[in-house]
Amino acid sequence: MARVLIILLAYCLGMVQSSNAAETIIVVANTADKSIQLNRQQVRNLFMGGALPYDLDAVALPPENHTRVLFNTKVVGLTESRIQSYWAQMRFTGRKKAPVEIKNEELVVEYLMTNVGATGYLPAGVAIPEELTVLYSSK
């Protein structure tokens, strides 16, 4: 019985690990400077409207999107509802506006290609055109 449990546990752990690998988030930008690298905190700041020394404009996916949920959990570290209330406070006190929302991952790539400085998050598996730069990759 104990052996079965251990095998089951090992199997579950394996699942978690493989799903983690598949759920890596990358942050991609249309930027002339290909050397820019951001750490998690800088990515968080960028997507929460904070000033960074680079000329980057964040774009987001809609609230129900799975990649957005992963990005909130792994990078921002806040729940969707907390992020929504933060943007409501920022908007109605005239401080900052939430990133432009783009319907899905394919359209994000399209948007990045046509807008200099635009920065978005995508799942690691998505094919990234050469013109774009990966600034960050979650572990």
């Binding site: 800088q42 806040l78 509802s81 929504q84 209330s85 933060y86 908007r91 109605f92 006190t93």
Partner: protein, 406 residues
Amino acid sequence: MNKTDDQQASISKSTLLVVFLCLFSVTDSYASSQDSLQFSGFARAIVGHLDDENAEYVGYDNSLSLDQQSLLGLQADYSLTDSISVTAQVVGYTEDQRNSGLQWLYLSYAPNNALQIKLGKLRIPFFNYSDSLDIGFAYPWLTLPQQVYDTAFFSTFEGVLANYGFSLNNWLVDFEAYWGYYDDKIYLASQEIDTKVDGLFGANATVNIENFTLRASYNQGDAEVAQDEASLFAEQLRLLGFSTNADWLNANGLIRFYQFSANYENLNYFVRGEVTKMVSEAGLVADIDSFFISLGYNFHPYTLYISYSEKDLHFEHASNEIPFGVSDELDFLAATYMGVIAAFPDDQATGTKLGLRWDWRPNLAFKAEMTFVNANDKVSNDYAVKDLGGFDGQAILYQVGAEWVF
């Protein structure tokens, strides 16, 4: 209300209605686009009931009422260029102690994403939530910890505000400073009092490090609060040589506000605390010390929270220096002075909250909250807690509500 006020009220109500109808003809406004004109808004529908028939708390009594904190706010942002925009926000309150109408109207200049300068009518950023009191969707509580956020106060100013943000390693720092004046009415003890505040200025800094946010602010203003009867009485006392008492009977002078807050939040829980202090030079304007501490636990889509807050409002009463028993006139003056002191009593209360927020949609949340208020013996009836007769100092406020942004 006289006829002109009536007319003004009906004009502003019809203006609100027109703006409201216009807004609803523009669909999908909150989420949309980079158009140069954007509309957005927020609404709160809050029902409350106090379990004690001998008291009133933040306007709620023993009956069920929807007309205390429910409100509707509409905002229009118009971009003139990439860096210049105009913003107007009107709020219609159901509570009769707050003036419905324009809360924000400003021109904004943002040459880059670090600096922003605003000019016009703005909310005063005294404390953490001072400029977003009306946006219930923006905070977890149903009612902000009232012992810190008493709404019977001047909340807007006309002037200039500048904001500068930068990042330093993993720190995100934001400085804000403003300067201006206030010339309007405040509501105190169910009365409208003409109030002018000149030389109003303040500065605050917010630092964000990982999951911590710290904020500190200093604000001051030279207040002139219309208290005509007290001024006349003070002059009479001064002529007779009772200058200590005459000095105390003064509602004008510098008011200073200090604030410090610390928040920690992650996916699972949050801790938020804030300490505030108001110090006044004028005898007839109180000093206030208050704080709150809140803990919350997230289990998506719900947030469960508890909160404790305290307020200590006190006057530095100058004791009576007018002798009794010398003459009838002096006896009368002394009794009047004692009467004035009694009319400006201290006020202390604590509030303990338990509540639940349910984020049903990304822009719609429901909340339920109970607040246990304990007012000890110090109830002045000028502020949130009112003794209607025979109040034992303890009551529970039950509230449910919906918070919407669009």
